[in-house]
């Protein structure tokens, strides 16, 4: 349906063709593409930052202590970063569904989104389990 039928643009002094041009499929596709890249870059930055911080702390703990339980808080923290990065990537997937034209692309998108959602579910469960484990250990000592 043309915009001129939905919005009384001529009262606002706005050219109908300019608005229709702005909301053309190519423009929306370009805007969504930029947004997807931004959101995915944010997710990648969060995941890599978490991995880097976790690895540096892991090396420090591995050299300083001899207990395997000392790694549990580090895994908990890394899991939080991964979960946050995953949320960004899932947001990117959702945005991408707006411009996925073929069934093959939609299928790939569904596979990636399913993996991310499953991992997000397992991560949330493991974070809860590890937190409970830490609380049990701290109440036992």
């Amino acid at each position: 349906m043309p915009f001129s039928c939905v919005l009384p643009l001529h009262y606002l002094g706005v050219s109908v063709s300019a608005v229709e041009g702005f909301f053309s499929e190519a423009t929306v596709r370009a805007i969504v593409d930029v947004l997807v890249r931004l959101v995915e870059a944010a997710g990648a930055i969060v995941i890599f930052a978490g991995a880097s911080i976790g690895f540096v702390r892991f090396v420090a703990v591995a050299v300083r202590t001899r207990s395997a339980g000392a790694f549990v808080p580090l895994r908990l923290e890394l899991g939080r970063y991964l979960a946050l990065g995953l949320e960004f990537q899932l947001a990117g997937d959702i945005l991408r569904t707006a411009i996925a034209p073929t069934f093959v692309e939609i299928g790939q998108l569904a596979a990636v989104a399913a993996i991310r959602t499953a991992l997000n579910f397992f991560l949330a469960r493991e974070i809860a389990e590890q937190r409970a484990e830490l609380e049990r250990d701290s109440s036992a000592t």
Binding site: F55, A62, R66, A68, F71, L78, Q89, V112, I115
Partner: protein, 78 residues
């Protein structure tokens, strides 16, 4: 962006290998090291899934996540 995320994923993979070796050599904590290494490999798989991943990247991520889950279930069970 794919080249950058691939390089970051490679760094995470190498960090995972180092973590397993370090935990094993500094006190025989192979399993704890493997768990942390698997977390870093999951990070690498997620970085590879950024952008427009091919089916190989999706399959690799699924394999790493399944392996991680199996080791975690085994750790909690035993």
């Amino acid at each position: 962006m794919t080249a950058v995320t691939d390089a970051l994923a490679l760094a995470c993979t190498a960090a995972g290998l180092l973590a397993v070796a370090l935990a094993g050599m500094t006190g025989g904590r192979w399993r704890a090291g493997l768990m942390f290494g698997l977390d870093l490999w999951v990070a690498a798989a997620l970085l590879r899934l950024s952008g427009a991943p091919d089916l190989r990247a999706v399959a690799a991520a699924a394999a790493v996540i399944t392996a991680r889950r199996l080791v975690e279930v085994r750790r909690l069970g035993g």
